[in-house]
Structures are given as C-alpha cells and as structure tokens.
Amino acid sequence: MDRGRSTSQESEEGIPLTYIEEVERLLGWRALRSRMAGMAVFAIAVMLAPLVWGDIYHLELLFLCHYYVMLACSWDLLTGFTGNVNFGHAFFIGGAGFAGALLNKHLGWGPMATLPAGALIAGVCGLLVGSFTLRLKGPYFAAVTFCFAALLYKWIMIRHELFGGEEGLAGIQSLTPDPLGNYYLSAILMLSTVIGLYLLSRSSFGLALRSIGQNETTSQASGVDTTRYKITAFVISASTAGLAGTMYGHAQMHVGPEMAHESLSSLVLMMAVVGGMGTIVGPVIGAYLLTLVNESLRFMGELRLLIYSAAVVIVILFAPRGILDLIIRGSSYLLPRKGKMAEEK
C-alpha cells in the first residue's frame, strides 16, 4: 500500500537525528552495554568467590543461592512480565527433581543426561499445563497452577513405594565429585540462566510479555498473539526450574517431597517479589538476599522465621516494586539526567 513517504526519507527530513540518538541511547544496544558490563562483573565475582569463601560450608551455601536464583528468575519470566501469578512453580522443580532421580536410580543415567532430561520433561509439562490454563484469567490461572503442584505433591506422598514417601529418595549420584565442582557447575548454569533470561527480557519477546502484563486487551489489539507468548514464557520458565531441580537433587544426592511442596513455591515467589518482579535482575538480588539472611538468622532460633516473614511483609509494603527498584531510584538521585528528551517523573 502506497502511503506516500518512505522510511529512509523520513529519517532524513522528518525526525531530527538527535531524537534517534537519544532513543537509541535508552533503548538500543548502548543501554544494554552498561547492563552487560554489570553482568560481567557479577559473573567474574561469582567465579572468583571460592578464592575467598572456599570452605565447604560457604560453597554449599552459595550453591543454594545459585539454585534459588535459577528458581526465582525462571518464575519471574512468566509472572513478573505477564502478570499471570504462578503458584505452582514447585510442580516443575520437584517434578523434574524426582524424574531425574528416578532416571538415575533405575536407568543409571548420570547428571549429564538427567539435567537436560529434567529440563525437557519440565518443559513438556509446562507446555501441557500452559496450553490448558493460560487462557484463563489471572486468579484462575493462579489457582490451577497451585492445584497441579498440590496434586503432584499428594501423588508423591501416596505412591511412597515409588517416591520414598516423606523421606524421599536417597543415594542419587552426585552432581560432581566435590563441593567445588558443584559450585562451579551450578554457577555456570545460574549465570547462563540469568544472562539468557535477561537478554530475552530485553528483546522483542520481553516487550511482548510486558505488554501482556500491562494490558492484555490492548496487546491483542496490537496484533500480539498473547496466548502463544504466555505459553512460550511458561515453557521456558518451567524447563529452567526443572533444570534447577534436577541439579539440586544430584547435589544433595537426595530428593524429597518438599521439593514439590507449596512452601517452596511461596519461598521462590517471595524472593522474586522482594528483589523486584519483572526485571530478572531483581530476583537475583532477592534470592541471594533471602537465602543469606535466612542462613544468618539461624542463631535466632525460633524467632528466625518470624523476622524473616515480617521483613518480607515490610519490604512489600514499603518497596512494592522490590529492592532493585529502591536501588535504582536511590541512585537516580545521585546521577544527573542528560539529553533533550529528559523524562518527566
């Protein structure tokens, strides 16, 4: 359809180059560069951490952080962006964890095989569940995800001859021969997850997801196949969680029903919320923070969980967009705003 002026003419005549430059600076590759630099610093820090905290206790603690980062970030991809609250993340974590354990115990598969298998199984489950449920509105989707996780948990407990009942399955092959190996393998998986999901969130895929979260009707009216995007995000979310679950099972050499319990879903959710939903980076902060705080409060004994849950409530009340948002807003007071099209606040 001939609409008259062509694109390249416009950019010479119609739009001042300074506009384009500024938009590019905020939305284009340059904006990404500074974020990626930050990621690189983080990655280096993670890789070098064992030099400072090289004892078994710390290595295992940080492994736990890696695990929760993967869980929280994967959860965030769906819920933080599209607004569909997933209350059953443990379905994929525990489901893949047990699947990997069973493949290992009965078929002798090693971690190099069970890790991708766990991710794949979780992804397929995500596809099946998502296809059924993502066309439901918000609270209904939340309820159904919860139901699937709860049903899995009950099934695991009922079929105790298969799943080991309350005690779960022990004697699973180790992830790597030693805690240092576990640390580095989990670090690689965690960093791949974070960087991969972050780049995804900054891409047009992420834009589509955000548009769904803010106004699904308008998004559809803009030609976006919202259901397909939601399902895709759910599948990615599920398989990443499954990967993490399988990894965890091997590292602990044990899987238990608590990996499919709703309290794990809640815990992961809280990490993402406290850190800052919808950012991928926020959940990283939330996971590290809550895991380390939880550990450091151990000395408080019975009051530990009380302080922990009170802190979560306070953060949600006073920083509803999470700690990441607090950091960003705090630092924006320190850095001056440049450019013609400085935004209004």
Partner: protein
Amino acid sequence: MTTFLDILVLGTLWGSIYALISVGFTLIFGVAGVINLAHGAFYMLGAYLAYTFIGVLELPVILSAAMAIGGTAFVGMVVDRVCIKPMRQNHAYVLLITLALALLFQELMYVFFGPHGKAVQDFLKGEILLGNVRVTYQKVLTMLASWISVGALWAFIKKTKTGKSIDAVAQNVEAAVLMGIQPERVYLMTMGISAALAGTAGMLISPILEAVPGMWAFPLFKAFAVVIIGGLGSVEGAVLAAMLLGYSETAVSRLVSANYPDMVYLVAIILILVLRPRGLMGKRAQ
C-alpha cells in the same frame, strides 16, 4: 446405612463449615475485587483467640466468642487499611501481600503458642444419636451457628441499608459513588465482615480440631475451591459449592480411601475451570 448417615452428617457438617469460611472470601472478592490469601489466617486467628479466651483465660464462652470474632474483624480491617488499600487496584500485589501476611501470621502463632496443637473444650457437652451415628452437640452447634451466620449475612446484605450499599458497590462502583456511597468505607466494612465470618468458623472449629500454626492453609484452599466452583462473587454459589464439596469429600473418604478426600477439591477446581470457568453461579465477569 450407617455409612450413608455418616456421610450425610459429616458432609453436612463440613459443608456448613466450608460455607461459613467461603462466604466471606467470595464477599470481599465480589465487592472489592480482592483475593485475600490471608483469609485462612483470620480463620486461624479466630481459633487461637478462642483458645486464649476460653482455654487460657477461662472466660465465659459467649463472651469469648464475641471477643474472638470482634478481634478478628478488627485485625481484618487493619489489614485492609494498611496493606491492601495502598495498591488495591493491582491484583498481583494484593495476592502477594496477603500471602506474605498469611505466612507472617503463621510465624506469629508459632512464636506465641508453639508448634503443638491447642485444644479447646467443647462449648456444649454431650451428644445425640442419629441412627447409628453419634453426633456431638458441638458439631450440631457448629452446623447451626454456620447456617445462622450465613443467613444473617444474607439478610444483612439484602435487607439493611448498609448491607445494600455493599451490594451496590459489588455491582457497580461508579454508580454507587454517584449515590453518595463511599467505596473505601464499604471495602473496610466488608473486610471486617469477611474476617469476622472466617474468625467465627475458626472459633467454632477450635473444639473439633486443634489449633496449629499451619492451620490457615487448608481453609484458604477450600475457600478458594468453593468460590471458584460456585462462582467468584456469588454468595449463593459459594453455599451450594460448599455443601457439594463437603459431601463429596466425605463420600470419597468413606467409600474410596482416606488418602483421597484432600484431592477432591483440587480436581474439582481444574474440572470447573476447564468446563465452566465462571463457576456454577458465577456472575461477575472479570
């Protein structure tokens, strides 16, 4: 025959309790669009307050009951004002803050009362015999009190002026505002009523089940199920669904296996959402 009577009696008991728990849950949703995941925590609060007043302080039952219900209603209103009101329009936020509150309440109860179950004495002693089934007066009282409470709520909403203002806001907030109704007041009041109903259920249950810090979870899940099956926002639907759930669970427990009743509501949710998402009597299109 015994089994049938058993199912009938127990099913009615649990159905009534589910109805009492769920009616408040669906009410606050229908009126304010709030899915209050702390609803189960109010139930828990009612039970623990009953234990404190009756069991520990040994106050008279009627007084304790009133204080337990009033206390729960008060907490509910504080939660609404402080936690929900600031970002009421953001549904995901409301889900998350109420969930966080539920977890906080659990820990508070754990710290104050410890992990072991706290039992309350039956309000009325004795039992009657229906056929071969023994029914304690407590259970009968619980059933009656549930029905009276639900009935009172219905009468309040349909017949009184204040109640009608709640109904008005549920149907059309803007129109209600034009009629001079203040929505925030209605939301606050509705939350108080909702919490009071949950607290009443908790208080009535406290002699039958022990009070434990984790007891907020199951009524929340059941309420959620009932409300989805009955239709979000529909009080009549909630009552119907509650009774259905009560009977189904009891039937499954007696006829199939004791392992499975807890899965009935989960399967029911999934079935309803696949077959008839708006529920049996759902009216509010979200």
